[in-house]
């Protein structure tokens, strides 16, 4: 297990290296000049050139990238071109809200999606199954922007049950988490249903039933444990997705997460912030997937890492 974990950590370093290089290359290839975006419309060409030199953007691509990697080894993500603040500080200020939104969203996805998935699987081919799958499809297909604004209007404005937006306590978290949760719950419901149907057809489930175990006991004690493996994998993926930021929901609700930070950076070609957030997100995704893989043997003892 330890060897497996170390191997995966080395893999993760490789992933981060590739992610940083690809992002750096893509941003470098953009037909846009960060120095001009920093300088603004009234700056003379001489001022733009002077800013370009100060930012080190006049150096060749590989020299810029090598310099970036050198700083990265000291966990220095550089300074934002536009804000002049250390990127590390900017990311750090957004981790808390992003983490809260991620936990809230995943909790709601599971709370809504898992019971519906179980219900659909147990009522296979009957109206509850059709209803759940229909709802799951609608939930997954609903545009986030529309859903977010509708929830704001109905629950925050019309009935004044929640704040209209912004960041604060639990009441501020519910609507953005629900927006993400409704969409994600559909996927969880569909996945658990499929996985559970597969498990319920296995021989050991038939044996458990034949031995006279109650349906609830069979479901919780035998079926669910194995059926949740893909759900755990999906939670790992979700952690990565949400930690990378969710631009639309954060923008509508004024949630100060990483999504908005990187979106603002993209608009003004703020390369250090863009690359910094990508590297951070890649690190989180890799780590989350590693954790999901490490949890699998505890859920299903048949899985062993050597």
């Amino acid at each position: 297990m330890l060897g497996f974990a170390l191997g995966r950590l080395l893999q993760a370093l490789g992933v981060l290296l590739v992610a940083s290089f690809l992002t750096f290359t893509l941003v470098f290839l953009l037909p846009a000049d960060p120095a001009r975006m920093v300088a603004g419309p009234s700056a003379s060409v001489q001022t733009v050139n002077s800013i370009r030199r100060e930012l080190g953007l006049d150096r060749p691509f590989l020299a810029q990238y090598a310099g970036y990697l050198g700083r990265l080894t000291g966990l220095d993500l550089g300074r934002s071109y536009k804000q002049n603040s250390p990127v590390r500080d900017l990311i750090a200020s957004r981790i808390g809200p992003t983490f809260q939104l991620m936990l809230g969203a995943i909790a709601l996805e599971l709370l809504i999606g898992l019971p519906l998935g179980i219900w659909a699987a147990l009522k296979r081919g009957r109206w509850p199954d059709t209803l759940v799958m229909g709802l799951a499809f609608i939930g997954a297909a609903t545009p986030q922007f529309w859903l977010a604004l509708s929830l704001v209007y109905l629950l925050a404005y019309r009935f004044a049950l929640f704040p209209l937006g912004g960041y604060g306590g639990l009441s501020h978290l519910i609507l953005p988490a629900l927006t993400l949760g409704i969409g994600g719950a559909g996927w969880y419901a569909r996945m658990l249903r499929a996985s559970l149907l597969d498990v319920l057809d296995q021989d050991y489930i038939r044996t458990a039933r034949a031995k006279g175990q109650r349906p609830a006991g069979v479901l919780v004690g035998h079926a669910l444990r194995n059926a949740t493996l893909p759900v755990i994998t999906m939670i790992g993926l979700d952690i990565g997705t949400f930690m990378g930021g969710v631009v639309v929901v954060e923008s509508v609700f004024g949630w100060p997460g990483l999504g908005r930070l990187v979106w603002d950076a993209i608009r003004v070609v703020d390369i250090p912030v863009i690359v910094g957030v990508v590297i951070f997100s890649a690190a989180v995704i890799t780590l989350a997937n590693l954790l999901a893989d490490l949890v699998h043997p505890f859920v299903d003892p048949r899985i062993r890492y050597r």
């Binding site: 000049d33 001009r36 003379s44 001489q46 800013i51 002049n84 604004l149 937006g165 609700f253």
Partner: protein, 542 residues
Amino acid sequence: MRRTIPRAVPAALLMSLSLAATQTASAQTPARGGSIVVSYKDDVTTLDPAIGYDYQNWPIEKMVFDGLLDYAPGGTTLQPRLAAKMPTVSKDGLTYTFTLRPGVKFHNGRELVADDVVYTLTRVLDPKTKSPGQSFYTGIKGAQAFVDGKAKTVSGLKASGKYGLSITLEAPNAAFLNIMAMNFAYVVPKEEVAKAGGDFGHKPVGSGPFTLSKWVSGQSLEFKRNPAYFYNSLPYLDGVTIKVGLDPSVAFLSLTRGEVDLLGDGIPPAQFLQVVKDPRYRANILNKTSVNTSYLSLNTQVKPLSDVRVRQAINMAIDKTKLVRIINGRAQVAKTYLPPLMPGYDAGAKGYAFDPAGARKLLAAAGLSKGFDTVLYTNSTDPNPRLAQSIQQDLAAVGIRASIKSQAQSTVIEAAGTKGAAPMVWSGGMAWTQDYPDPSDFYWPILSCRSAVSGGWNWPWYCDKALDARADKADRMVAPGQQAARLNEYKAIFAALDKQAVWVPIYHEVRHVMHSDKLVGTAADLLDPIHFISYERLSVKK
């Protein structure tokens, strides 16, 4: 007081409509105390006056910092602020002598002195600062040598004693005092810049009417009244909170519920028509024409646009009224390059009338009776692609086949600043807005030979050395008695440009602001042509 919103608004949340607006003003005797909440969609990037340079930064920087000079509220007349009086100017028009007000304190308690002004301007010029405003101040004697690293100080900046300051220029510049009133020249204390370690933009300390008390990245900025502020018993408010990241539609709902007092981004397009037509909101909405021009640039270096007749034909082919309708009427049709509030604006200018038949005749005279193919660049943010499509249709009606390239703003800017790359550029989202109220600001950065360079902002790539010489000569007219003649000369310069048809000036935006019932502010305070919002002059009903 809370307001309810009409039931029809949910539908308005999801669609755009069209306009007519009302003009009111809450002119009441300002009461002292209270606080307001202002909403913005985008985060505030920095409050370093040497760096922050957009419609959102400017008014907020003005809360924390002061310049030697400022403008009369809502107008373009310069007044002393940190300066005790207007400066004296030497006979040759090169040296400005300022006397500072004694006893003005920075927020850290230290007195503001002339050395601070010298430090401030030197810092803006220093390439390490990366100030977008550097080029405004390179006309100071010795500034270019300092920028190039050939001198350690700027020879034209001299402090004499605590309150005396002289600034000597390389050449007379009639707009120099306007430049001294810009945010870049807001005075900063050296020790606080050093203490912030490169992050002064997030830890600003100035001498202004408010102090920054709290800044939570991506959420809000909180300002408190500076009790020691020296000017005209300002400000009236005890506090201002800037909430960032709120979607404009959500911000609007927040305002109707009394949680927000001012929509920094204005009324969202989706609700615009409904809101301005609702009599209940009449007292909450103010509007004013901005000092900017949205235009279609015509690249004089690209055939067949190099032929003035073709450019004139394009000017005649475009229905500007239709374009204004597309943006719900939130603009005034432009007849010339300068906006109406800009000194030097020619009220008698007629521009080119919408005349497709005349346009076709001109094209035929240019040997293009079958039209031609060209490319129109536009920023991809709504409503610009829709506006570009309208221009495309108008051009098609006279035989010009324009294909639209709708791209990110930074990409459009890059193409427009590359010689021969962009035949036509719609400036929507990148309209030229005054840096300061002087016509030279509409000439040198965007229409002169010095800006017709790679990476410049002269998108028509038009260079007329004779016009440059005339503008240069006009800028040397610094004596008070020469000002009318100077403005007339600029009128003539822009008339010449109009004849050359290097732009199609389309419209001047009309800004609308919406405020809560409790906020008290006039159009001069909330739609200031320079500062946009004068927070120091706002108050709340008691």
